[in-house]
C-alpha cells in the first residue's frame, strides 16, 4: 500500500437503511474509500456507546454510526434515541480530546448509496488529516492489556 496513512473506520450500519445504502453503493459500483469496515446492527439504536469506545480502544481511527433518516426509522424512532446518545457521547468524547470527525453519525436511506459513499470518502479524508488514533498504543502506552467489555452471564 501507499505510504500515506490509511485510517481504519468501523461502521455500525442499521439493517434497513444505511446497510442497504452500502449495498446499493456496491450494486451501483460506486467506488469509495475502502477504509470503512461494516458491522450490521438491526437498528442504529442498538449501538451501545460501549461499542464505540471499544472500537477506538481496539485500534479504530474512527467510528461511523449510520441509520435511517429521522422519521424513516424501520423501528419508528430508534434512530432518535441514537441521536440523543450520540449527542451526549460526542460531548463526552470532546472532553477526552477525541476530535468530532472521528466519531460521526450519518443518516442514509436505503436509496442513498451515493450519500453513504460520499460520507465515507469525506470521513476518510478528515481522519487522514487528523492522523492515526491507535488508542492503546499511542494513548495508553504501557498501561496493561485491554479489558474486554464483560458480557451478560
Amino acid at each position: 500500500m501507499s505510504d500515506q496513512f490509511e485510517p481504519v473506520i468501523v461502521g455500525f450500519l442499521c439493517n434497513w437503511c444505511s446497510y442497504r445504502a452500502a449495498d446499493l453503493a456496491g450494486t451501483a459500483r460506486i467506488k469509495y474509500a475502502p477504509n470503512l469496515r461494516i458491522l450490521r446492527v438491526m437498528c442504529s439504536g442498538r449501538v451501545d456507546p460501549q461499542f464505540v469506545l471499544q472500537a477506538l480502544l481496539n485500534g479504530a481511527d474512527g467510528v461511523l454510526i449510520a441509520g435511517c433518516h429521522p422519521g424513516e426509522c424501520h423501528y419508528v424512532n430508534g434512530n432518535i434515541k441514537t441521536l440523543r446518545r450520540f449527542t451526549l457521547l460526542r460531548k463526552t468524547l470532546e472532553q477526552w480530546g477525541i476530535e468530532p470527525e472521528r466519531v460521526q453519525l450519518l443518516w442514509a436511506s436505503a436509496s442513498e448509496g451515493t450519500v453513504l459513499a460520499a460520507a465515507v470518502d469525506r470521513m476518510t479524508e478528515q481522519i487522514r488529516d487528523l492522523g492515526p488514533l491507535r488508542w492503546s498504543q499511542k494513548v495508553l502506552n504501557g498501561n496493561g492489556a485491554a479489558h474486554p467489555v464483560a458480557e451478560e452471564a
Partner: protein
C-alpha cells in the same frame, strides 16, 4: 502484522466458504489468499473458496462438510445477506445445524464492488471474514417464532388498485375491510374519460367492479373513513378507523338523490370535478357512486355555517338526514394490510411561467379529462373557459412538473401516453383543430403504446421537440393578439418559436399523496424522498414492504398506468392470500429478553419500545419483554444500564467479538513509551 485470536482455540469447528461470484468478487479480491489466511484462525476447521456458493453445488459443499467434518458453525463470505442469507441458512439447516449457527460476510457489495484497489479489497475481505468467524463462534441456536395469520385483510384506498386487491381476496373467500377516504370508491380512474391506448371508456370498465365491491358480502366497505392508528404486527394488526360523519343515516338512505337535487348551496367540486364543475353541499361525487349515500360537506353547508336551511332534511323522504351524526372510531383486527392510496396530480400553479390559475385558457390534464368526459361540465364538448368558444388550436405540454429538478426529478411515466390520448380526443371532437404536442422525449413503452403514437402521427398531430419555456398572453406581433403564446425552442430546428394558440393543456405529472409521509409513519413503513412508499425489493419484491404483513399496490409506490396498477393490486392480493393459506408465518427470533432476576427495575427501558413490548411487573418490581410484540431493534438492549437485556443474535459478546475480529490487524499490544 500480528494475528490476534480472541476466542479460545478449537472452541468451535467453523467452516468458511468464500464465493468468487464469477469475477464479481474474485476479480478484485484475492480469494485464495483470504481462504488460505483464515485457516490461521484456530476455530476454523475448513476453509474453501468456490465460484458460485449460491449454486446447488456450492450449497452442497456446506452440507457435506457439516456432515463429514462435523462443522459446528458456518461462515459464507459472498454477497449481501439481503441477497442470500436465507439461502445459506437453509443449507446450514439441511446440513443438520441450527440455521442461526451461520454468519455471512458481505465482501461483494461492501468490498469488491466498492473499490478497484485489489490490495485494499483483499485486506478488507480478511477483516470482514475474520469478523464473521469470531462472531459465529458465539452464535446460539435459535428457533423461529410461529405467528398465526388472521385471515381478514384491510385494504386502504378505494381506487382501481384497492378495488382489484379487495375483489381478488374477497372472491378467494377472505374477508376484506376496504377503507376509502372519500365518499365513494373509484379514485382517479372514475374521473377519466377514455383509457389509452385502447380508448375504452374508463367508467364503463370501472363501475361494474365498483358495484361488485358494493355487493360482495366478503367486503366491508368503509367509505368516508380514514385509518387513525395501527398497532400489532404481521398476522395480528389492530387498526382503528375513523368513520367520518356524513350526516346521512346509511340504514335509512335510499340514495334517491332528492337532497342533492334540492340543496341550494352550489360549490366548486375540486375533488372529483377537478375544479372544473360544481356540486352541491350535500352530494354524491357522481351518479354511479358506491356507496350511493351522499355526503354532507359541513364546511359549505348553509345550515352548518348559518344555522338555517335544513332543506335536505325537509325533502328527505326517509328522514335519513342526521345533522347530529358524529365521527365513529371503529376497531378491526386483521392479519395483513394492503396500501393502495394512489397519487396526487402535480399542482401546475407551481410553474408560474405556464400561467395556470392566471391565464383562463390554460387547463390541467385532469380538468381536460373532466371536460372531454360526456358526464363532465360541458357534456364532453371541448370549450374555452368562457364555456362557449371552441378552440381552433390547442397546445399540449408534456413533462409539467416531471423530469425537473425544481419539482419532481422522475418521469411520471403516463403523461406522454395520456397527452397522445388528449390529442386524439381533440381530433375526434374538433376535427378542424390543430394540436401541438410539446415533448422532451416521447416515451411510449408498453403494449400497443408506440403504435398509438404512430396513429397520432397519422392523425396529423404536430409534435414539437422542446420543453415549453413560457406561456403568455402578452402579444408581440400581429397574429398573437388575444391568443395564448406558447414559447419554446424547436430543438430539432434549433430555433426559438412562438406559437399562438387558443387553449393549452398542461400534462401534469404524478406525485405521491401530499400526506404519504404521515401515512407511511402511521403504518411504520418507509417512503422515499419523493414520498412514494418503498417496496422491499425493486425487482423481486415490488409489492412487499420492509414491514411484514404490509403490502403496497398502485401509484402509491410510484407513477403507474392502469394496467400496471391493476397488476399490482392482484399481486398484493396474492401475496396476502399466500400468507392466509399458510396460516402461520415464522418470524425471526431476533428478539430482546430481560434477565428478570438481575433487573433492578429502574424502568429506563419501559418507554423506549415503539411497540410497547416492555412491561413492568409492579409485583416483582422488574420489567419484562413481550416476545410477540418485540421487533428486535435492540434499542432497549443498548440502553439498559445494568446490561440485563439480551438481544438475541445481536448479543454484546457477538458484536464485540465481531468488533475485535474486524480490527484483527490493529496493534493493541502496548509499546512502552516514555510517560509524558
Amino acid at each position: 502484522m500480528t494475528e490476534k485470536q480472541n476466542s479460545p482455540a478449537g472452541q468451535e469447528k467453523v467452516g468458511v466458504y468464500i464465493c468468487h461470484c464469477g469475477s464479481n468478487i474474485a476479480g478484485t479480491i484475492n480469494v485464495d489468499e483470504v481462504s488460505e489466511w483464515i485457516k490461521g484462525n484456530p476455530n476454523v476447521e475448513v476453509s474453501r473458496n468456490y465460484e458460485f456458493m449460491c449454486s446447488s453445488t456450492g450449497q452442497e459443499l456446506i452440507e457435506n462438510d457439516i456432515k463429514e467434518k462435523g462443522l459446528t458453525r458456518v461462515v459464507v463470505a459472498s454477497c449481501s445477506p439481503h441477497m442470500h442469507e436465507k439461502t445459506f441458512r437453509e443449507a446450514t439447516e439441511r446440513g443438520g445445524l441450527n440455521p442461526f449457527l451461520f454468519e455471512m460476510a458481505n465482501i461483494r457489495e461492501h468490498d469488491s464492488w466498492a473499490t478497484n484497489n485489489k490490495e485494499a479489497a483483499t485486506a478488507k475481505a480478511k477483516a470482514l471474514v475474520n469478523a464473521a468467524v469470531e462472531r459465529v463462534v458465539h452464535h446460539k441456536p435459535l428457533e423461529k417464532i410461529p405467528v398465526d395469520i388472521d385471515p381478514k385483510t384491510m385494504v386502504v384506498g378505494g381506487g382501481i388498485a384497492g378495488i382489484t386487491a379487495a375483489l381478488e381476496l374477497a372472491e378467494a373467500g377472505h374477508h376484506v375491510y376496504l377503507v376509502e377516504r372519500e365518499g365513494t370508491i373509484g379514485g382517479h380512474m372514475a374521473q377519466i374519460d377514455k383509457t389509452f391506448p385502447t380508448l375504452d371508456c374508463s367508467a364503463c370498465i370501472l363501475t361494474p367492479k365498483m358495484v361488485d365491491v358494493g355487493q360482495n358480502e366478503n367486503i366491508t366497505l368503509l367509505s368516508y373513513s380514514e385509518v387513525e392508528s395501527v398497532d400489532g404486527y404481521i398476522g395480528n394488526f389492530n387498526i382503528t378507523v375513523r368513520k367520518k360523519a356524513r350526516c346521512v343515516d346509511e340504514e335509512l338512505c335510499t340514495s334517491c338523490g332528492i337532497c342533492e337535487e334540492k340543496c341550494p348551496q352550489k360549490v366548486v367540486d375540486n375533488n372529483y370535478g377537478a375544479g372544473l364543475s360544481y356540486r352541491k353541499a350535500i352530494y354524491r361525487a357522481f351518479p354511479q357512486a358506491v356507496p350511493g349515500y351522499p355526503v354532507l360537506d359541513k364546511e359549505n353547508c348553509t345550515y352548518f355555517q348559518t344555522g338555517k336551511c335544513k332543506v335536505c332534511e325537509k325533502v328527505c323522504p326517509t328522514n335519513a338526514i342526521n345533522y347530529e351524526q358524529e365521527d365513529q372510531l371503529l376497531n378491526f383486527n386483521v392479519g395483513n394490510i394492503i396500501l393502495a392510496t394512489g397519487y396526487d396530480l402535480f399542482d401546475a400553479r407551481k410553474i408560474p411561467q405556464y400561467g395556470y390559475g392566471r391565464l383562463p385558457n390554460v387547463f390541467s390534464s385532469l380538468e381536460f379529462e373532466r371536460m372531454v368526459n360526456a358526464s363532465g361540465p360541458t357534456g364532453g364538448h371541448i370549450l374555452l373557459r368562457d364555456g362557449e368558444t371552441e378552440p381552433k388550436t390547442i397546445a399540449i405540454v408534456h413533462c409539467v412538473g416531471s423530469r425537473d429538478q425544481n419539482h419532481n426529478e422522475y418521469c411520471s411515466k403516463v403523461c406522454c401516453m395520456y397527452s397522445l390520448k388528449f390529442a386524439h380526443l381533440v381530433h375526434e371532437h374538433l376535427p378542424e383543430a390543430e394540436v401541438y404536442n410539446y415533448y422532451i422525449d416521447m416515451r411510449t413503452p408498453g403494449k400497443g403504446y408506440e403504435e398509438f403514437y404512430h396513429r397520432l402521427l397519422k392523425e396529423g398531430t404536430h409534435f414539437i421537440r422542446g420543453r415549453v419555456a413560457e406561456i403568455t398572453d402578452a402579444d408581440r406581433k400581429p397574429g398573437e393578439e388575444g391568443k395564448l403564446i406558447v414559447q419554446s425552442e424547436n430543438t430539432l430546428l434549433g430555433v426559438q418559436q412562438r406559437n399562438p394558440v387558443d387553449m393549452v393543456i398542461l400534462s401534469a405529472g404524478i406525485e405521491a399523496r401530499h400526506d404519504s409521509e404521515k401515512v407511511s409513519k402511521l403504518f411504520k413503513m418507509g417512503c422515499d424522498y419523493d414520498g412514494f412508499f418503498n417496496e422491499r425489493h425493486p425487482k423481486l419484491a415490488p409489492v412487499s414492504t420492509m414491514t411484514d404483513g404490509i403490502f403496497i399496490a398502485g401509484a402509491c409506490q410510484g407513477p403507474k398506468d392502469i394496467p400496471d396498477t391493476v397488476a399490482q393490486g392482484g399481486a398484493a392480493a396474492s401475496q396476502v392470500a399466500k400468507l392466509i393459506s399458510q396460516g402461520t408465518v415464522m418470524m425471526e427470533p431476533v428478539r430482546a429478553s430481560i434477565r428478570e432476576d438481575e433487573c433492578s427495575g429502574c424502568r429506563i427501558c419501559n418507554n423506549l419500545c415503539p411497540y410497547n413490548a416492555i412491561e413492568y411487573d409492579e409485583e416483582k418490581k422488574v420489567s419484562h419483554v413481550v416476545t410477540a410484540l418485540c421487533q428486535g431493534c435492540g434499542t432497549c438492549v443498548a440502553a439498559c444500564p445494568s446490561g440485563v437485556i439480551d438481544g438475541a443474535h445481536f448479543t454484546n459478546t457477538q458484536i464485540l467479538a465481531e468488533l475485535e475480529g474486524i480490527l484483527w490487524d490493529m496493534p493493541t499490544e502496548m509499546t512502552v513509551m516514555e510517560e509524558v
